[in-house]
């Protein structure tokens, strides 16, 4: 239905994520790489479903994890073509090695890295701020305030990436990623031809080369700074009342404007959309105004930078001085209050309203895996199940209460191993199929090499369910992978997680939990939603074929 909306309108109504995707298509990318993760998933999905992208033979499709995605994008950039790589904020942790080093190699064809942050942790383990990563890598970073800017900045980002031969980071946050608004397209640009870097040693980070490349990166800082100082993404908007100067980064600018319906803000405002932070405009604001208020989603990066360590200088208000809460995303009311505005009392939340947390779907295969596992563990003390991230993490909630950890993708296997190494047995790992190929395989190899006594349960629902049912890199490969890693054939057991086989499955769990060594159990049944979608698509295909043959 949403696709239909698009087709009927001259202006495209796009999610922030989709604006980025359309921007990338129009800016002449040759490939997009990504691993799913809320709120970034729709960027890749849009390109996968785009007819234009298909016609232009733009490479798309899900990677095994963010690091492989980042490296493939860098490889494409090496050939002189434009590439974009997208991930959620914690994905950048996984890709960090490649990401940081790509700043040292530099880019050849334009290279854009999109990181979608999730302040307030709507669907994440933390609210880390990717702007830090931009600063850490010492590369230019962009932060759009709305969908149109996101679209425009993709074009601009590729231009400066090629101008300075450097990867460029774009940071967005949940609300921009998942809010729909009108976007006007620019003219499309053809893809680059293959042209290798002039210096074929540029990408060899042997110390001797790396030192040279690093010096080059340091020297480039002045250029990045100058670009940012002159960028239209950073706007100084004057105001008559100099008692306060406001710095508004990215989407916080919209929340600020919302509080001034006539669009007249009495105070000077520095609207920031590009990093490194522009010095002349920031200095002007600091010099002219009595106090500064900093509005930024995520960490108080700018506030810390312009504030004084010793509390000298002008008063800087923001998340550090308590004007705004240290955690959580911003909204119009929080921004209004930070300006001293008073809001009328709203109606209270009626007391009849009770919580309705998300839960495993009725009939979800994970339910039956947990039921059998729980029963198999009844005679052991609690606290033995190390788990991971995915739909199955909801096994932490009642009525299952089945898992004890969830830290980062892949950690279930390695944490279980650490616990087993400490003499804590049995130690069980519960991990999803996509999470296993993302970051579980290497941990399993560690366990095999150490012959750590762990039972690894790989819940194979043939999809990346949590993020909406993307194609899983693991499908059809799990047993072979485990065997090749060195798990004994007799201890790789596939089961059907259905109530029909409860007793049988429970006994398998019991037996393997007692086994001294690495065993892998694979409960295998398709996610209900993925199955429903597949059946629908197959039916459609059949009907089409029938029409064709008639």
């Amino acid at each position: 239905m949403i696709q239909a909306v698009l087709e009927f309108m001259e202006k495209l109504m796009l999610l922030g994520d989709e604006a980025i995707a359309q921007g990338a298509i129009d800016a002449g990318i040759s490939g997009i790489y990504a691993y799913p993760g809320t709120p970034s998933t729709e960027i890749m999905e849009y390109v996968i479903n785009s007819k234009e992208a298909k016609q232009s033979k733009i490479r798309s499709g899900w990677a095994t994890n963010e690091k492989t995605a980042m490296e493939a994008a860098l490889g494409m950039s090496y050939t002189g073509k434009r590439a974009i790589v997208c991930m959620k904020h914690v994905g950048l942790n996984v890709a960090a090695d490649a990401f940081i080093n790509s700043a040292i190699t530099g880019a050849n064809g334009g290279l854009l890295v999109v990181a979608a942050d999730d302040p307030s942790m709507h669907s994440s383990q933390n609210e880390q701020d990717s702007r830090f990563f931009g600063k850490f890598a010492m590369i230019p970073a962009l932060e759009p305030s709305n969908q149109q800017e996101a679209y425009d900045m993709i074009h601009y980002g590729f231009e400066i990436s090629e101008k300075f031969e450097i990867p460029v980071l774009m940071r967005i946050t949940t609300r921009l990623a998942h809010s729909r608004s009108a976007v006007v397209r620019k003219q499309t640009r053809p893809q680059n031809e293959i042209h290798l870097p002039g210096n074929l040693k540029q990408f060899i980070l042997l110390p001797a080369n790396a030192r040279r490349q690093y010096k080059h990166l340091l020297q480039s800082q002045a250029n990045f700074q100058e670009e940012s100082d002159n960028s239209i993404m950073n706007q100084y908007i004057d105001g008559p009342d100099k008692k306060l100067g406001i710095v508004a980064c990215g989407i916080s600018f919209n929340y600020l404007m919302e509080n001034f319906p006539d669009k007249k803000i009495p105070y000077p405002v520095l609207k920031l959309g590009q990093y490194p932070i522009t010095r002349p405009k920031m200095k002007k604001l600091y010099d002219e105004c009595d106090e500064i208020l900093v509005l930024e989603e995520g960490y108080p990066i700018i506030e810390e930078l312009i504030g004084s360590f010793f509390g000298l200088g002008k008063t800087i208000k923001g998340r550090l001085d308590g004007t705004i809460s240290r955690d959580g995303e911003l909204n119009p009311n929080i921004v209004g209050k930070s300006l001293g505005m008073e809001f009328a009392q709203t109606r209270p939340l009626p007391s009849v309203v009770t919580g309705r947390p998300p839960k495993l779907c009725k009939g979800c295969p994970h339910i039956y895996s947990y039921n059998a596992l729980n029963e198999a563990l009844t005679n052991y003390s609690k606290g033995r199940v190390f788990s991971d991230i995915g739909c199955y993490t909801l096994g932490a909630l009642e009525p299952f209460d089945a898992i004890n950890t969830c830290v980062d993708m892949g950690a279930s296997i390695t944490m279980a191993k650490g616990a087993a190494d400490a003499g804590y047995k049995p130690a069980i790992s519960v991990i999803g199929d996509s999470t296993f190929t993302h970051s579980g395989m290497t941990g399993l190899l560690d366990a095999v090499n150490d012959n750590s006594s762990i039972t690894v349960v790989i819940l194979d629902n043939a999809t990346v369910a949590m993020t909406g049912g993307q194609k899983s890199s693991a499908t059809g490969k799990l047993e072979k992978i485990c065997e090749a890693i060195g798990v004994h054939k007799d201890h790789i057991i596939v089961m059907n997680p259905s109530p029909k086989y409860h007793e049988e499955n429970m006994k398998v769990f019991k037996k393997e939990i007692e086994y001294e060594g690495v065993s892998v159990i694979i409960p295998r049944r398709e996610c209900l939603h993925t199955a429903a979608r597949r059946i629908k698509e197959e039916k459609k295909k059949k009907e089409l074929e029938k029409i064709k043959s008639e």
Binding site: I2, T38, N254, E258, T346, P350, R356, G468
Partner: protein, 195 residues
């Protein structure tokens, strides 16, 4: 003209189909629109909502400020109440009265209805039953939209056009049923107001 609308329901109930119709009617008439959607957590059964803003002037924030929503359109009764703190003093609640019970402590329906009726501007309707009578359970959301159509500041035929466009690929019958559902909701709301 400016309408801030909160769409509410439970994951999987398809609140975005209502958003798509309103959004398309608004855009086709040259209005601005912003719509913050809910994505992620693909499991069904959690509470979900979407902020939909339409206006003849440019819209700044993707999120509706607290206490400023003109309307809550909900496909589930308890969910309509979850966003009451967002509602403007003279705002409307338009909600289906069929509970989606997937929690053990779902409150008493009488208490929920009492609370809905304590909001001066409300319309509570049995959209499932009305959709069923028309012959398509699936079009309950369009019944609710029909009831809300009185307060959207959009011409009724623009909503009809939007439905025709959006369901074009699904065939004439589907369009017909959804238009009927829309009309049923509108007639209900017309009479509700008179009482």
């Amino acid at each position: 003209m400016k309408k801030d609308i909160i769409l509410a329901g439970v994951g999987g109930q398809g609140i975005l189909s209502i958003a798509a119709v309103i959004g398309m009617a608004a855009i086709d008439n040259g209005l601005y629109m912003k719509q913050a959607e809910v994505h992620g957590m693909s499991q069904r059964g959690g509470d979900v909502h979407s902020d939909l803003r339409i206006s003849d002037r440019e819209i700044a924030s993707d999120l509706i400020p607290e206490g400023k929503a003109d309307m809550i359109i909900s496909v589930e009764p308890m969910e309509s109440l979850r966003y009451v703190p967002m509602l403007a003093p003279d705002g409307w609640i338009i909600t289906n009265i069929n509970p989606y019970v997937n929690i053990t402590n779902y409150p008493d329906m009488d208490d929920i209805l009492k609370e809905i009726k304590s909001i001066p501007n409300h319309i509570a309707l049995d959209a499932n039953k009305m959709a069923d009578e028309i012959g398509s359970k699936k079009s309950a959301n369009m019944v609710i939209l029909g009831a809300a159509s009185l307060f959207l500041g959009l011409k009724y035929e623009h909503l009809e056009n939007a439905i025709a466009k959006l369901f074009k690929n699904k065939g004439v019958d589907v369009i017909e049923i959804n238009l009927k559902a829309l009309a049923a909701g509108k007639i209900f709301a017309d009479n509700y107001n008179k009482n």
